[in-house]
């Protein structure tokens, strides 16, 4: 053990994080749900559930199906709408000393721009994450599967907001680096890699898809190798910070993502299994960096690349 504690802080534009561990959108509600279980201010940042302009009731149940070492979800972006998120949800989070990132989901470029303007003006969020990769609503992935649409969207949102901009990529593409490069060239300050993989589960007794929405997004340990591969590929093509997401259950998984090229990690499904997984990873990273005499985060980011 070294005497000085390693510096795990990280900066994405004006977003200052004390450590690289965040929550993954949709798995942490609006933060307050977990406040009884641990101190949220120990996290690098909190990413809240996707917000849309109008309230959305979401998809019919069942919305969850367990799969081998993973799960499918088809929530369908249920949320009370941007105005209610700003007036009812964000003020509760303001009590905690932790940056808040809002995940935005629009149906058109205009709607993303309006969302970005609304949340920038509200003064209660520290960064925007563009969800261009939701597999559970019609057209949810369009902006994340065609580079020219990605570029247009990111460019227009960039022009509409001064907040740090993170673009969340879909793995449901042939070449994820094309989308990554398009987003960065258009002004994205960072990339979240990845959202869920599109999947189906079938109930053999009822002879029907298990999920009410038929398809859902696969998450959890089952997708970790895919997510790692995506981070690896994107790291070789872009120079902005990458937030690794997908099947991170513990410190060891987080380290794999950092070595593959992630500057930060987001913990999703793991929180359902172990509600304190994210803060345990913060402590685990501190310990690993100290034990290996690593001075700061940068010393390990991308370390596995030749």
């Amino acid at each position: 053990m070294t005497s000085s504690s390693p510096d795990l802080s990280l900066q994405i534009g004006s977003l200052q994080m004390k450590n690289p561990v965040m929550t993954a959108s949709g798995t942490f509600g609006y933060g307050v749900e977990y406040a009884e279980l641990f101190d949220m201010s120990k996290l690098g940042a909190v990413v809240i559930k996707a917000a849309t302009m109008k309230p959305r009731v979401g998809n019919p149940p069942p919305r969850i199906a367990e799969t081998p070492a993973g799960m499918l979800n088809a929530i369908g972006l249920q949320n009370p709408g941007a105005d209610a998120v700003i007036s009812e949800k964000l003020p509760q989070l303001a009590e905690y000393d932790v940056p808040v990132i809002v995940n935005l989901s629009g149906e058109s470029v205009d709607e993303y721009v309006q969302l970005a303007e609304k949340f920038s003006a509200c003064g209660q969020v520290d960064a925007l994450e563009l969800n261009i990769s939701c597999p559970n609503v019609e057209h949810g992935m369009d902006f994340g599967t065609r580079p020219e649409l990605t570029a247009e969207l990111v460019g227009k949102v960039r022009a509409a907001s001064d907040l740090p901009l993170i673009t969340k990529l879909s793995p449901n593409v042939t070449d994820i680096t094309e989308i990554a490069v398009a987003a960065v060239d258009a002004g994205s300050d960072a990339l979240s890699v990845i959202n869920t993989l599109l999947g189906i589960s079938i109930d053999v007794e009822r002879r029907r898809p298990l999920l009410g929405n038929v398809t859902g997004g696969l998450s959890g340990p089952a997708i970790k190798p895919v997510a790692l591969r995506c981070v690896w590929q994107v790291y070789e093509q872009v120079d902005v910070p990458i937030i690794g997401v997908g099947g991170i259950m513990n410190t060891r998984d987080a380290l794999e993502f950092i070595m593959a090229g992630a500057s930060a990690v987001a913990v999703g499904t793991a929180t359902f299994v172990n509600p304190t997984a994210s803060v345990e990873i913060v402590a685990g990273l501190q310990q690993y960096f100290a034990e290996h005499d690593l001075p700061d985060l940068g010393a390990l980011v991308g370390a596995a690349h030749p």
Binding site: L37, G58, I64, G212
Partner: protein, 267 residues
């Protein structure tokens, strides 16, 4: 609500495929309200991945014990009931919104189907502890005598107790709804509580609605977080939206729900 590791104190098969598991969980037992549940993790593995929800059947606040009733229906429950006594289980709870306690005079009806008896035992136990205990008429329906799980725990907390089995091996032969019809005809019921198969609860809800008896049911849905964050466990509400079983429920006033949608989602 706490997330704790709890020792499994005992684990006994009560009926074929049904186990009563006792856990040392003082923090959870102290807080637990009738109708609340716990989210249990199968021992340290990522497959099965998600926790499994179980109603609290009894919360012994004095000794700090919880009793659960687990029916084996798949891999997760198979693993849980085979956990050796003395081992630790990760338990999150108590979770959800339980039964509202009766306020006025009149009898309390409890309608249980199979393993659905568990949360009703916790409710009956709480009502027993009142200074002026409510008069409880318990109704228990099952396929056959073997499936009358924990009936002694239930019957012992009721003032009147009625059983129906589909094959007539115990009590009256028939469905529990027939017994309920007779009880509703007697009048005097101030409130009804039910837990069991969805089709049974839908029928109970309808009959109580027709008889103007307020009715509360405890529902199940597949869960992710168990604490209201993921919106994975929703059920159709009468007003057209969705309610979270883990947070807004698992207990709901039956008139808040869209039973037609709930029944069709099951098919």
């Amino acid at each position: 609500m706490v997330s704790v590791e709890c020792e499994l104190l005992s684990n006994e098969e009560d009926a074929p495929g049904h186990y009563v598991m006792a856990l040392a969980a003082p923090e959870i037992a102290a807080e637990a309200q009738p109708g609340q549940f716990v989210h249990l993790r199968t021992p340290r593995t990522f497959d099965p991945l998600l926790r499994r929800p179980f109603s609290i059947m009894l919360a012994d606040k004095v000794h700090g014990h919880l009793r659960l009733l687990a029916q084996v229906v798949g891999r997760g429950t198979e693993i849980l009931v085979n956990t050796p006594v003395g081992a630790k289980l990760e338990v999150l709870g108590p979770l959800g919104t339980g039964f509202p306690l009766p306020t006025g005079d009149g009898d309390v009806l409890m309608v249980a189907g199979g393993v659905g008896v568990a949360p009703l035992i916790s409710l009956a136990d709480a009502l027993r502890g009142f200074e002026h205990p409510a008069y409880i008429r318990g109704l228990f329906g099952a396929a056959d005598e073997d499936m009358l799980v924990c009936w002694i725990e239930f019957a012992g907390r009721c003032d009147e107790f009625y059983v129906t089995t589909e094959d007539g091996s115990a009590g009256e032969r028939g469905l529990i709804t027939e017994a309920l019809a007779q009880q509703l005809d007697r009048g005097q019921a101030a409130v009804a509580y039910t837990c069991g198969p969805v089709a049974m609860m839908a029928a109970v809800a309808q009959m109580c609605g027709d008889a103007d008896v307020p009715c509360y049911c405890s529902l199940e849905q597949r869960m992710g977080c168990g604490i209201g964050a993921c919106l994975g466990c929703v059920i159709a509400a009468a007003d057209g939206g969705y309610l979270r079983v883990c947070k807004d429920g698992p207990v709901f006033a039956t008139d808040r729900l869209d039973w037609e949608a709930i029944l069709s989602d099951q098919q």
